[in-house]
């Protein structure tokens, strides 16, 4: 393990570990709500923040946090209004964020699109000591929200109307989730890059749910997959000089394919067992059918 002797590699692996834990922990709620693409949008918007950081000579990471959080809040407001033109509004935000980033970084003195490359695809050598501190703080917040409020977030993402009728503060929980997703994107920015961050929010969750039946199990397995692929992807990038984002995401997709291949026979077996059980229930119906029951059967046809 000579790679651990390099200080930059220690930082890169720590950053990768934090991403592996936080990204699926937030991503699972976005997937549950069928909003898997939201991470992609936040990533695009965060690019404008990074570029603003260069232009204003402040920390690109903190500017990315700020702009991504504002973008995520805007996306949540568009979503919660549920207008039919919501997807168009989101597209404007995505492309606006990307174009804004490219425009602004070229306005910065001595700046060019090349400055953005490490943010777009990740870079193991560029994780500074300051980045590690910021990343740790953000990751701690993300974990506090996604685990501490998991019951509430689960209820909101599963059935939003029911959650409102229960009197949960649904609007605040949704905004909190949006901001948490934005923080996760900026946590992941160094390790996998803004263009690929969404994959890490979604793919470990998609892989895990090939094999699970419940939410808690899916969350645990997705985080485990996330940690394995981010760490091994980062190590791979150390030996074979490629951006870590690419190797991490391809590894995650490989895990997904593997899980799907292994789970398919399992799912068929379960379906057969369920079908057999259902048949049994109908036959075991207490009392059997009387002519009067014909009335109640009608509901099944409607």
């Amino acid at each position: 393990m000579d790679l651990l002797n390099y200080a930059f590699m220690q930082r890169a692996l720590l950053a990768a570990l934090l991403v592996g834990v936080t990204a699926p922990a937030v991503g699972i709620y976005l997937v549950q709500r069928r909003q898997a693409i939201m991470g992609d949008g936040i990533g695009h918007v965060a690019l404008t923040g990074v570029a603003l950081g260069f232009l204003l000579r402040t920390s690109p990471v903190w500017m990315a946090v700020l702009v991504a959080a504002l973008g995520a809040i805007a996306m949540e407001l568009v979503r919660s209004k549920g207008r039919t033109r919501g997807d168009i509004a989101l597209a404007m935000l995505f492309y606006g964020g990307m174009a804004g980033g490219v425009l602004i970084v070229n306005l910065a003195p001595g700046g060019s699109t090349a400055n953005l490359t490490s943010f777009l695809f990740g870079s193991i050598t560029s994780v500074s000591a300051e980045d590690v501190t910021v990343t740790c703080l953000l990751a701690a917040f993300v974990m506090a929200v996604t685990l501490g409020l998991r019951r509430q977030l689960f209820a909101v993402c599963q059935d939003e109307e029911f959650a409102r009728v229960m009197g949960l503060p649904v609007r605040w929980l949704n905004l909190l989730l949006a901001v948490t997703a934005a923080l996760t994107v900026t946590v992941a920015m160094r390790a996998v890059g803004l263009l690929l961050v969404s994959a890490l929010l979604v793919v470990p969750v998609a892989a895990a749910q090939q094999a699970t039946r419940g939410f808690a199990m899916t969350l645990a397995l997705a985080v485990a997959i996330g940690v394995v692929v981010t760490l091994s992807g980062t190590v791979f990038s150390f030996y074979v000089d490629v951006p870590p984002g690419a190797s991490i995401v391809l590894l995650a997709i490989a895990v997904f394919a593997l899980m799907a291949a292994l789970a398919a026979p399992l799912a068929r077996k379960r379906a057969r067992a369920a079908a057999a059980a259902a048949e049994q229930c109908t036959l075991d119906l207490p009392g059997g059918r009387s002519p009067g029951d014909d009335v109640s059967v009608q509901g099944a046809k409607g």
Binding site: V165, R213, A300
Partner: protein, 257 residues
């Protein structure tokens, strides 16, 4: 407080979906311990009426009080158990029966962590609907009727005083219909108040104290469950098409389906 026993009081309620008025001056009163069925054809506004009662459709006119409190100021949501139409509750991640039912307890625990009493309540609710043996199964593996039972357990887990159910019998198999009717009978015997939307009275008929029939967003009947209206309401009539009266069918735009 002139009437402590009024649980739901809707007066002159108007509501619109987009530009289309769906409720046009609906009066609906439900008193403690009553079982009231809201009947009507597709598009008559019955689902909108219950969604207005639970605060999910804003009223454009009229007044709504829950347990004697104006709906705007009502905060005691744990007193209401809501069973939405089955199609609305579907997540993109697998969830177990227990997880879904446990989420209904949040109306009591809100942002706090659940304790032993909450876990016991989940178990009791699963028992009530006969799903305790399926607690660890994925809800997607269930039949329509079993799924409906899970949604009812989710509403019952917070021990509500008022149950509001939107089409609880739609797409439910015979075995589950019997379990549902039995569960509801137990709740009513224990003093629960029930408001439910139905296409037709069906197997719940003996439980129902009063029926309110909507047509085009107006109340056209409020009283005992309707007696035979031609062939359609006769017990035993195999009512495969869901509309009470084809002539009363409003113009269907297809926008809501």
């Amino acid at each position: 407080m002139k009437d402590q026993d009024t649980v739901i009081s809707l007066r002159g309620a108007g509501a619109a979906l987009g530009a289309r008025p769906v409720l046009r001056g609906v009066d609906l009163t439900v008193r403690r311990g009553e079982v009231v069925a809201l009947l009507g054809a597709n598009g008559s506004g019955k689902s909108t009426a219950v969604r207005a009662v639970v605060g999910q459709v804003p009223l454009t006119s009229g007044e709504l009080e829950l347990f004697g409190t104006p709906q705007r100021r009502f905060r005691d949501w744990a007193r209401i158990g809501y069973v939405p139409q089955r199609t609305t509750a579907a997540g993109g991640v697998p969830a177990t029966v227990r997880e879904i039912v446990a989420s209904g307890r949040l109306s009591r625990t809100k942002l706090k962590w659940p304790g032993k009493a909450d876990r016991d309540a989940v178990h009791r609710a699963l028992d009530l609907v006969g799903m305790a043996d399926r607690a660890k199964d994925c809800v997607e593996a269930l039949s329509g009727g079993q799924h409906q039972r899970v949604l009812i357990a989710r509403a019952l887990v917070a021990s509500p005083e008022l149950l509001i159910m939107d089409e609880p019998m739609a797409g439910v198999d015979l075995a589950s219909q019997e379990v549902l009717a039995e569960t509801l009978r137990g709740q009513v015997a224990a003093g629960a108040t029930v408001l439910l939307v139905l296409h037709e009275l069906g197997p719940l008929e003996p439980l129902i104290d009063r029926a309110v029939v909507l047509r085009d967003g107006c109340v056209v009947h409020d009283g005992p469950p309707p007696e035979a209206v031609g062939q359609h309401a006769l017990p035993g009539h195999d009512h495969v098409h869901p509309h009470a009266d084809p002539a009363a069918e409003p113009v269907r735009t297809g926008l809501l389906t």
